[in-house]
């Protein structure tokens, strides 16, 4: 069977074509086509098929990570969303959580972005539910109709209904949707109790609104893709990568696009999980460094941690996402020295794709992290980025010289400073997902990927002591590997709030069972026109409960067994929670616990794609892979180094540092005193020389 994984990035679209029978892989990298990403996707698939000599029509499965939803929010190009709130709550998005970022005085320079549903498109419904689900005041339908008519005249493109306490009783939301479908039959309406039936009115509203906001863009994109695929590939099945690292069937993705906001970063983590599995390494910290940002995540026993919120720009929604920490620093981050403090700062400004780093010779003049890498020799001049870009060391040096002059350092010292500062920020991100969660990074391997990850891999390894540091094959397109190798997933949750000691196990297990059904239905879209044909016997179910000490605000998510819950055996659950609390926060409390949210997760069958084990010894030697002699600057000194071609390195080879290993879309630096070993799956494993 032929499977395709596609990852659309800002600059390039990466495609991985897998022949699952023979475990052969073919990759292609083509320019992204931002005006209509589906063009780039098709170009990439076509190119990979040519390389593999495969007929496009033979492709059966396409899995895809996309930033369409994310970009709609970041660029403010989503739908005109109308909002219906409970009377007295029309400004729920305007007031938000009243939070002003920055420290004392942060308000002096805080610029708030306008809400995704503008106040002028917000109407209030005269109705009220109590926290316990009781109707306090019935819905004034006549008044609502009038308000909806007014909204209709403002040409909204989507409607969102989010009422107070609807997590405990959705009757009014549903009734309003019915009325709306009469008043404006062509406008899609969504209700918060379906998208996210959880407590906290702002979070529920912003999540539901964000869903509506990105939906038209995502729907259009998916239907474009499906049309192309059905024409050229006999309707190969399409799945989209969710923020939580699972796959959504195309119709499910189109209906709940709020689950796709972190689709991009999730691809890399999914890829890392798979590569780690293949290499027999199940505890991994991922380090995905690109041009403008770097993503870090922790994988324990082959599973990434999932967080119950997703943040894009200023918007934080309640949707599960892999716990990926992003920092706004990457190869394009600009270094500068403020006059006032004479401190060396890197970022937050980035040179972006245009003009890009000075070394790219596209008009950039500011010193970037990439330029510093060029100056230090980590990124050799003959390296072609993405195959067609030249690097000019003289321009990089000229740019970095500005920083050197401001600090009174040599250009090499300044460049090394820039790299060290940015490494320290990366290290901060690694700490966030590891040490601060009670994990010791020394128990993990760092996996470096993305365009710039392998350049900084050795340095990060020294900081985190997460040896060996893994540079997977094709580090620039690991996301596409992730897309192709993860499994279908959906989840459903709801808020209950019940003290553990009063909880009724059989009622809870009933609720969990219903959630499981609803998650399964959401996955297959059963009952809708778009129903997906899937053998339900292949599905796997998991259950979780969000728990806290009575009175705490934040919850910890504890996996539970349905049988234990049904039997009312809460002791093990309580124990798991206490242990988790202690691991995270160094102490536990002798306090009552409460169940806050129930959640069921449904998973499709696991991937059958494997990396071939090319274990046979190679006939060539390491020296056959050497391209040229070179110099790198490290720890204040110049070192003689060799440049190697990764394509010519075979399993069992060991490259001794100082060295630079180049491949199509990435470069790995090996420092003095370190070595890079090629394992049986062709990963580079960096570690200090024994």
């Amino acid at each position: 069977m032929f499977k395709v994984g596609v990852d659309v990035g800002g600059t390039f679209t990466d495609v991985l074509l897998v022949d699952t029978k023979s475990s052969s892989f073919f990759t292609s990298k083509v320019p992204s086509t931002p005006e209509d990403s589906s063009q780039g996707v098709l170009n990439g698939i076509k190119k990979a098929c040519e390389l593999a000599n495969v007929d496009m029509a033979d492709i059966e499965v396409i899995t895809h990570g996309t930033t369409v939803a994310t970009n709609a929010i970041l660029t403010g190009k989503g739908a005109k969303v109308g909002l219906v709130t409970t009377k007295g709550y029309g400004q729920v998005l305007q007031i938000a959580r009243s939070y002003v970022p920055g420290g004392l005085g942060g308000w002096l320079y805080y610029q708030k972005t306008p809400p995704l549903a503008p106040l002028e498109f917000t109407i209030e419904a005269d109705e009220r539910m109590g926290a316990d689900g009781e109707v306090v005041r019935g819905l004034d339908e006549a008044a609502l109709r009038t308000s909806l008519e007014g909204l209709k005249n403002k040409n909204i493109e989507a409607l969102t209904i989010c009422l107070i306490n609807s997590f405990s009783n959705d009757a009014h939301e549903k009734r309003i949707r019915e009325i709306a479908s009469e008043v404006m039959p062509d406008i899609p309406a969504s209700i918060s109790s379906e998208v996210i039936p959880e407590l906290q009115e702002y979070e529920r509203t912003v999540t539901t609104v964000a869903n509506s906001y990105v939906r038209p863009e995502v729907e259009k994109y998916i239907s474009n893709l499906e049309a192309e695929f059905s024409e050229k590939m006999n309707g190969a099945s399409l799945s989209i990568l969710r923020s939580d690292g699972g796959l959504a069937t195309a119709p499910s993705a189109a209906n709940f696009p709020v689950n796709l906001l972190m689709s991009g970063p999730a691809g890399g983590v999914s890829g890392a999980i798979w590569v780690g599995e293949q290499a027999g390494i199940n505890n991994v910290i991922t380090f995905d460094m690109g041009g403008t940002s770097t993503d870090v995540a922790l994988i324990e026993n082959g599973q990434a941690l999932v967080r119950r919120e997703t943040t894009v720009g200023d918007v934080t929604v309640r949707a599960s996402a892999l716990d990926v920490r992003s920092i706004g620093a990457g190869g394009g981050s600009i270094a500068h020295v403020p006059e006032l403090t004479k401190a060396l700062r890197v970022g937050p400004e980035s040179a972006g794709a245009v003009p890009g780093p000075a070394a790219y010779d596209k008009g950039g003049e500011n010193p970037t992290v990439t330029d510093a890498n060029v100056v230090l020799g980590y990124l050799p001049e003959n390296q072609k980025l993405g195959g067609d870009m030249n690097i000019r060391k003289d321009l990089a040096e000229k740019a970095v010289q500005k920083v050197a002059d401001a600090l009174g350092l040599t250009v090499n010292e300044a460049a090394e400073g820039i790299v060290k500062i940015v490494n320290e920020r990366m290290f901060g991100a690694v700490r966030l997902v590891s040490i601060e969660k009670g994990y010791d990074p020394r128990d993990f391997s760092l996996m470096a990927f993305g365009g710039a990850g392998p350049l900084h891999a050795n340095a990060l390894g020294e900081l985190t002591q997460s040896w060996p540091v893994i540079v997977p094959p094709g580090p620039g397109i690991l996301c596409a590997y992730g897309d192709a190798t993860t499994r279908l997933r959906n989840e459903a949750s709801k808020t209950i709030i019940v003290n553990m000691k009063n909880a009724d196990g059989s009622k809870l297990s009933e609720d969990l069972g219903e959630l499981a059904k609803s998650a399964g239905d959401g996955l297959t879209m059963s009952g809708s026109n778009d129903a997906v044909n899937l053998d339900t016997k292949t599905l796997e179910y998991r259950y979780e409960i969000d728990i806290r000490y009575s009175g705490q605000g934040l919850v910890l998510t504890v996996p539970v067994s349905l049988d234990d819950i049904k039997a009312g055996k809460f002791d093990t659950v309580a124990q798991d929670f206490d242990e988790m609390h202690e691991q995270l926060f160094t102490f536990r409390l002798d306090a009552e616990k409460e169940f806050v949210n129930l959640r069921a997760i449904v998973l499709g069958p696991p991937s059958d794609v494997e990396l071939s084990d090319s274990g046979e010894a190679s006939s060539g030697t390491v020296e056959d892979a050497a391209i040229m002699d070179h110099e790198i600057f490290h720890n204040g000194e110049l070192h003689k180094a060799k440049v190697y071609d990764r394509a010519k390195l075979d399993p069992g080879h060991i490259v001794n540092g100082p060295a630079v290993i180049t491949e199509m879309d990435s470069t790995t630096v090996v420092f003095p005193g370190h070595e890079a070993k090629v394992d049986s799956r062709r990963n580079l494993l960096l570690s200090p020389k024994s």
Binding site: G102, A343, L344, L554, H581, T586
Partner: protein, 625 residues
């Protein structure tokens, strides 16, 4: 202070030259550590006050007690001066008594924990944290009695004691304070969170010293202080004139029927040094609005204000303290004598920021903001529910951020760092009440070229008989506007009884009885505006009108914008604006609304409340002499 700190390893530190890159790396690592302290506490705390509203502040200081990272500046030096006895490895000091620590914390609710960090028997640095406990006893639920006249009425005061002695928890102390709280389980959770955060800071600092070397870590902290100092020196020279600038603002009343109380500050520069002199500030109040202002803390406020505008990436620290001199008269509202009550100091603490803003802005009108949401309104509701269970809510309110030179002030937001509102659904799930209205108040933000943020109207419907306490201000004086803008609207508190009767409640009151079915409208004030409202782009005014943030009447009368059929009538607007501009007198730098005498005269008619009597300082003046 060093002689009070016992070390088993007396080797002195070596002050080394730290290269700028290492310095920046350590700066980043310290910043991360501070964020981690916050995260630990916020996630584990029990009370909504800390965990949602973030009323807690961490700090790391060098061996001399100077804050290297943190929020409110260091108090360790003053604290150690007052501390009797010695400190050893494994000790952790706890206090909540402002009078025992030179105002390091300024009311009893703030539990302060200080940990000397040791490495290999040597004192390496300090970690400290304080958080606001919901209830510590005293005469009113929430332990912030408006009507207290002595600190003895405000809860249990703990002078500096060792809550850990050589690593051993002194459980007795915790038992005593918890026994005196109406909300012991919240206090316990919050207190443990504060302690955990300090322990985490300790671990990180030791790791940093291990990684870079003890001497490098020690020297880097010093160097960070010096770097900050150099930056502040420049700022002081550039922004503070030599001639004396003076600014006054007020606390409206003291909950005992007197007010307003004046806070006056003068500022000038002598060479490289800036002097802040609070001479002319009113004497201390017999009530609880006194604010024991720690001089070092005030320096931090200033530094923060000045630095926010320039290199916001800079790590605030104590390095510049020698270049600021703060003079506060003894026996004044800002330096009261024990046993003056202190619990409701938040009004003065907030107002200090308006005073600062006005002072620093006079010489730099381009940087001038409107009067802030310069307080932290509190609301409390407590009693026994139908099942006989005690409930007690303590909530912090938000309002209009003032307009800034960079744009409008956000509506209904927080000026305090890290604070968030509590979700209303959470309140309704855990307390016997419903929030029936939660919106910003149209036209409450001061009109200007940049509009002040609107205040919030929060309608609490009570579902049980109980008692409420209110803490707010700016009900008499206005949040002023600047550079030709209007002030924001003042705050009000309106109680609508289930029977339909309406009464205005004072902005400060304790244990006021409410019945099931009553609604309290807790209305906070708006931020002051910046610049002439007649110059605001008509499209922006139109947008505000469509959004319901500004009324059509205000758009016409104050902004001079004529709206017809949902669009701006350009010609009519131009004419109206020209007419209004001609009528306008010369724009003042500050627009305070009415003069004090007028405020008093119109008080009853405008606010529904009797004006406060002028404070009688005859007794406190004697005390001050």
């Amino acid at each position: 202070m060093h002689e009070k700190i016992l070390e088993t390893n007396p080797t002195p530190y070596n002050r080394l030259e730290v290269d700028p890159i290492t310095l920046d790396i350590i700066e980043n690592a310290l910043r991360n550590t501070r964020e981690q302290m916050d995260a630990t506490l916020f996630r584990t705390a029990m009370s909504p006050g800390i965990r949602e509203q973030g009323d807690a502040f961490p700090m790391i200081a060098n061996v001399d007690g100077k804050m290297v990272v943190g929020q409110f500046g260091s108090f360790i030096h003053g604290f150690m001066e007052a501390f009797e006895g010695t400190i050893e490895e494994g000790d952790m000091i706890f206090t909540n008594d402002p009078y025992s620590c030179g105002g390091a914390v300024s009311h009893l609710n703030d539990y302060l924990v200080i940990k000397p960090v040791y490495k290999d028997g040597r004192h390496l640095c300090w970690a400290a944290h304080f958080g606001h406990m919901t209830d510590i006893g005293g005469r009113a639920p929430g332990s912030l009695p408006n009507e207290a006249r002595e600190i003895f009425e405000e809860g249990v005061a703990v002078p500096p004691v060792k809550v850990f002695r050589k690593g051993e928890l002194q459980d007795d102390i915790i038992k005593i304070v918890l026994r005196n709280s109406r909300m012991p389980h919240w206090n316990e959770g919050d207190f443990k969170g504060v302690i955990a955060a300090c322990n985490i800071a300790e671990r990180r600092c030791i790791e940093m010293a291990e990684r870079f070397g003890d001497d490098v870590f020690y020297s880097a902290l010093d160097e960070l202080l010096e770097r900050n100092c150099r930056a502040m020196q420049k700022l002081i020279l550039e922004t503070v004139p030599e001639e004396v600038q003076t600014f006054e603002d007020y606390i409206c009343d003291d909950a005992l029927g007197s007010g307003p109380y004046k806070i006056k500050c003068s500022m000038w520069r002598e060479g490289e040094k800036v002097i802040f002199d609070f001479d002319g500030t009113d004497p201390q109040s017999p009530g609880s609005i006194n604010f024991l202002l720690n001089e070092e803390m005030f320096k931090m406020f200033c530094g923060t204000f000045m630095i926010s505008a320039f290199d916001p990436q800079i790590l605030f620290n104590d390095g510049f303290y020698d270049y600021m001199d703060v003079r506060i008269p003894e026996g004044s509202l800002l330096k009261p004598r024990r046993p003056a009550a202190l619990s409701c100091r938040t009004h003065a603490l907030g107002r200090i920021f308006d005073v600062l803003s006005g002072l620093l802005g006079q010489g730099n009108p381009d940087f001038l903001c409107g009067a802030g949401f310069s307080d932290s309104p509190h609301f409390m509701y407590s009693g026994y529910d139908k099942n006989g269970e005690w409930y007690q809510l303590y909530q912090i309110g938000f309002g209009g951020i003032p307009a800034r030179p960079i744009g409008d002030g956000p509506d209904g937001h927080s000026l305090w760092p890290g604070f968030k509102n509590v979700p209303n659904e959470f309140l309704e799930a855990y307390f016997p009440l419903r929030i029936e209205t939660y919106e910003s108040i149209t036209d409450s933000g001061g009109a200007g070229y940049h509009r002040g943020g609107n205040g919030i109207r929060m309608g609490y419907r009570f579902l049980e008989d109980g008692e409420i306490s209110i803490h707010d201000d700016r009900w008499l004086t206005y949040p002023w506007g600047v550079n030709g803008a209007n002030p924001g609207l003042r705050s009000t508190k309106e109680l609508v009884r289930a029977t339909g009767e309406t009464e205005m409640l004072p902005s400060k009151c304790d244990r006021f009885e409410v019945k099931s079915g009553d609604i309290l409208y807790f209305n906070t004030w708006g931020g002051g505006g910046v610049g002439d409202p007649l110059t605001r782009e008509a499209e922006r005014v139109l947008q505000d009108v469509h959004s319901g943030l500004v009324s059509p009447e205000a758009a016409h009368d104050i902004y001079g914008v004529v709206i017809a059929d949902g669009a701006v009538d350009e010609a009519a607007t131009e004419a109206l604006r020209a007419e209004k501009a001609a009528d306008k007198s010369e724009a003042k730098l500050f627009n305070f609304g009415d003069e004090l005498e007028e405020l008093r005269a119109n008080c009853l008619a405008e606010t529904g409340l009797e004006p406060p009597a002028a404070p009688d300082f005859s007794k406190s003046r004697l005390a001050a002499e």
